[in-house]
Amino acid sequence: MKSNNGRFNVKPSTAAVRCALVAMAIAPAAYAADAVDPEVAALTQPTSRIEAGVGYVNKDSAKFGEYNGLQKKGAYGILNLDVRGGTYGDNDDGTRWKVIGTDLGLDTRDLTASYGQQGKFRIDFGYDEILRNRSDTYQTPYQGAGGNVFTLPGNWITPRVPQVSAAGTNFRGLSPVTGLAPALVTGVSTPPTAAQQAIVNNIIATDVPLFQNVDLHTKRERYDGGFTYTVNPLWEVKGSVRHEDKTGYKPMGTVSSQVSEFSATLPDPIDQSTDQYNLSATFTGSKAFFQVAYYGSIFKNNVQSVTWQDANDLTKFATMSSAPSNQYHQIGMTGGYHFDPTTKLVVNGSIARGTQNESFLTGEQNNQLPLGLPTQSLNGLVVTKIFNMKLTARPMKDLNVMASYKYDDRDNRTPVNTYFFQDANEARAAAASPFNSALGLAANTLGSNINIYNNRAYSKKLNQADLEANYRIAKGQSINASYQFQKIDRDCTGAWIDCEDADTTKEHTGRIEWKANLVEDLSGRVSYAYSQRKVDNYNENAFLALVPMANALGVGGAATNGTTVATQSALAYMLANGLTGYGPLAGFSPPYTGNALIYGNNGGIIPQALYGSRNNINELPGMRRFNMADRNRDKVRGMLNWEATDKLSFQGGADYNKDDYDNSVYGLKSAQSYSLNFEGTFAASDDLSASFFYTYEDIRSKTAGDAYGANSNTANVAGFTGIDPVVCYGTILARNLNGKQDPCLNWSTDMRDKVDTLGLAVRKTGLMGGRLRLGGDVSYARQTTDIGVNGGSYVNNPLAITGAPAGTIAAFFIAAQNLPTVTVKTTTVRLNGQYQIDKSSAVGMIYIYQRMTGVDWSYQGMQYGTGTNYLPTNEQAPNYTVQVVGVSYTYRFR
């Protein structure tokens, strides 16, 4: 908008009033505050405000009330205040205070207060509540919400579908649709018998009523205190403390048994506190400044664990650890020095200790820790050292330059130990671990399914240098160019072998930007940045650091590609064969030679038991974790700003980002996004304004994987051999001989988010003789998520059983399908108005309308009758229309 600075024609008749401040200044004692001209006082004296009223919400909705405290139908109180006092104007001795309260009638209330004598001291107080409503549709049969022990009601019947399995747990038995569906019995679709139906009906009649709603929400209550003490014009001391209590429940997936993956989502109790402290002393001189500061954060969790009854096996309980209490203390110093008016150096350094020493859970359940613990607590320690240095200068009139260096060392000094554990509620395998002898244990002490793991203490060291120059080419036109070099070293303290996928990554980034006032009312900028990140040697065997038994000689190992591991450790075997991982090598194709032999016909990977793990913990060769992978990055930014008239202006912008992980065969391969922004503002007059914005964002990423199978000589399924459709292999034998190289098992995904967001706002004041002001906002957001999947999987034909007709298909190749589009649309209308009754009184009204419609397949799996091995929660995708209306009275005073 254009400005008009020319208003210097002061009428003599009003000059005396306008000179009030002159007079006040020269003879301040002559004027008491109440003698000040009301117009002057209106500007120089603070106005306090108290607003009180009542509002009404017409419908329950946790999502609508996610953060605004309006989650429940019914009336609520409106109470806001802004009260200020102290000495202002000519009586000002510097003492001022204020109390500001927002949403005091809701569970999102916020109250702050300060009192001080400026130039001497100030003290601050604050109280804030942050409520997050997570779900009001979550259901669970578990009892004990609010505590940390969850049990099932005494009459709970473990669900099953007897026509499928007479004794097996099956949560699909909670729905009549799936619980009473026909099952295949010797290849024939067979309805359940009357007895089976009675069992299912009894389960439904008993268990379904046991599902109760639990509102999932968390609430933070913050108490703030602070002070500022000005020692003298050169020195200032500041301090603050924040205590936060966080309580409530959040959903937590819990696996009762990993073997069959029985899982239940529990209302995880949250009862935590965090105390944060800041203390600093700052010196400010004419050419230099200096600050020494302390920051402390102490987190305490009052819930150490959560225990629950296994819905699959009521005789068992399981226990989950909660986040451990921890502390972080940092001391830092910052100094700056002006060599001359345009050359400045700022140096900063800090050292911090992060510790965690919560006692480990010792209540061993289900023989989960057969050898006990190597230590009773972690004694975790992370020492972080940081150093920053930045030099800025203007060597020429139109040239600004900057050079900086950053060092950030997160040194994890946590002790490393070996832990022996069974997976979640998994029974010990009958077979013995190959490592009992190597560990000096009696034979058969540990089962073959034992996990023998070392913890990994990840450390990270950053070195970064930046150079930047900004040159003004001409008036209103400049070029900015910068270069950054970043090197990140990663390692693990005490690891027996290199634990990091990428020990060192180096990234070079160059950026250039052109800014210009193209014509008088049109300005713009465009920039381009390119980054290239390289990994010196990507280590596909980093996972070995987790399993120290890979370096031990086991006994009784299984034959692997003709070699018995009993004669060498897993690591030795790998090294001898020049392998870079345990999985199939990416990109290999017959004939298999060299390293690929292990993946040739009938070649098996090393059983995980031979490195002391219950799972194959390796990744596919060719998998690159994206945060450490080779990457090329392009970024383009552009923006135009057009001041069309004094009253009308437009802005438009575009961003484009593209990441390519060209050397990643599997994992994230590329990510790109772009956004378009358009905005207009119109100030028709002093009392009428409007604005509009629209943003479109498109985010896309592509990932690849390989669901390789096992190689075998198995040639049929119940005597049948054909696969339908024939995509890669036509027979069971051909497929099984090539299970590790089957191209049909390669898969890829293409995930894409598209989001439109628009908003319109109108403000009108000065109505009804200046007494009425109105405002309105409308916003609309439409977001879609599409996940495209290429590939497929094999499924044996359940009709392929002995006695089936000749020619029965043995297995189907099921082509992948794209996921259904996830769509969420949100429309919000907000209206407000205020009518000024008199100088100190006003009445106001607000109206809010919000409608959200959500279609999301992820909720399908939470319903009765969808999963065999996880407990439904019956949560619903957010769909609501909520209206809120409120009226209030505002009293202003001075």
Binding site: I26, T87, T319, Q356, L546, G583, I617, E619, Q783, F812
Partner: protein
């Protein structure tokens, strides 16, 4: 004429001041205060309560607190501007802050006026910071004369930031977002727009240290650490808003599969595995009670079991299940 009237007013005030001063406690007015107001008066004589912008409201702010000897005069920021005093309609003040003015001063001049006093505290790292190199002026965001600076109030701060950060504004409207529009988390909770030692102008030295100021339970160190968590929270999360709750960059299980390809994480998860998908209805016509979508594609996906993805302190929690 105007000058004469003002001078007369001043003289008159001076004439009566002796009586008033005698009745007033000496502590209520300092010489600093008097001097400040007197010196401001040469500006406020014209830029007074009738001025088209409420410049006098600066006296409600710390800048106008004349009891503080550090508080600036009008000329501290706008320059002595003697030519402007002599010829108000012709010459401009030495430093013009209004960005909508044709005569706005160069950014360095405007910021210099502020940094004279505000170089320390949260502005220690201003020089060479992103906003400085983008030629932003303090007045681009701050309204110094206003009794309540919008950018300093939680409820209105995002409006100021969104003036430039429009994509971030749109992201706050997504189904999963920090409560920014609701005024419970504001930009300055995470960012220091005046420059910092962290990336993206974050208030702490790193992304993680910034996140831990509110999410300290994820700080650890844990017995079993999840490498991408200790590396950078934004490996998985996007802070301003996401289509995937909770603020995830992509949906599980595919987000997890960007890094994991062993054991069951190597498997393909597609629409064919959903309830009603092809795998559960082989041949398209067999309703099979013993077929079920995999847990990894249902409900909370991988987090149905591996829920402690931020780290576990359970001796048997290496797989983040305990």
């Amino acid at each position: 004429m105007l000058g004469a009237i003002c001078a007369a007013s001043a003289l008159l005030a001076g004439a009566v001041s002796g009586e008033a001063r005698a009745a007033e406690p000496a502590s209520t007015r300092s010489s600093v205060q008097q001097d400040g107001l007197a010196q401001d008066a040469k500006c406020t004589v014209c830029h007074n309560e009738a001025w088209r912008k409420p410049v006098l409201s600066i006296y409600q702010t710390p800048h106008g607190n004349r009891a503080d000897s550090r508080a600036p005069l009008c000329t501290s920021c706008h320059g002595q501007s003697e030519n402007h005093q002599k010829d108000p309609g012709g010459a401009r003040p030495e430093v013009v802050f209004a960005t909508d003015s044709k005569h706005v001063s160069p950014t360095d001049a405007r910021n210099g006026a502020c940094l004279n006093c505000h170089e320390t505290g949260k502005r220690m790292h201003w020089s060479g910071s992103k906003h400085q190199s983008e030629d932003l002026a303090c007045a681009s965001c701050h309204t110094v004369h206003a009794p309540q600076d919008k950018v300093l109030a939680k409820a209105t701060q995002p409006e100021v930031c969104f003036t430039c950060h429009k994509t971030e504004r749109a992201q706050t409207h997504r189904i999963s977002h920090h409560p920014i529009l609701e005024g419970k988390v504001v930009c300055s909770d995470c960012h220091n727009p005046h420059g910092s030692t962290g990336p993206k102008l974050l208030v702490k030295d790193s992304v993680n240290d910034t996140c831990y100021t509110c999410h300290a339970e994820k700080r650890g160190p844990f017995l079993w650490e999840h490498a991408p968590v200790t590396d950078d929270c934004t490996n998985c999360h996007t802070p301003h808003g996401s289509t995937n709750s909770p603020l995830l960059k992509a949906r599980a299980p595919w987000l997890c599969q960007e890094c994991h390809s062993g054991d069951h994480s190597k498997n393909i998860y597609s629409g064919a595995n959903l309830p009603g998908g092809n795998v559960t209805t082989i041949n398209g016509n067999q309703g099979l009670a013993n077929q079920s979508p995999p847990a990894q594609l249902s409900a909370r996906a991988c987090m149905n079991c591996h829920v402690l993805v931020h780290g576990s302190n359970h001796p048997a929690g290496a797989k983040f299940q305990r």
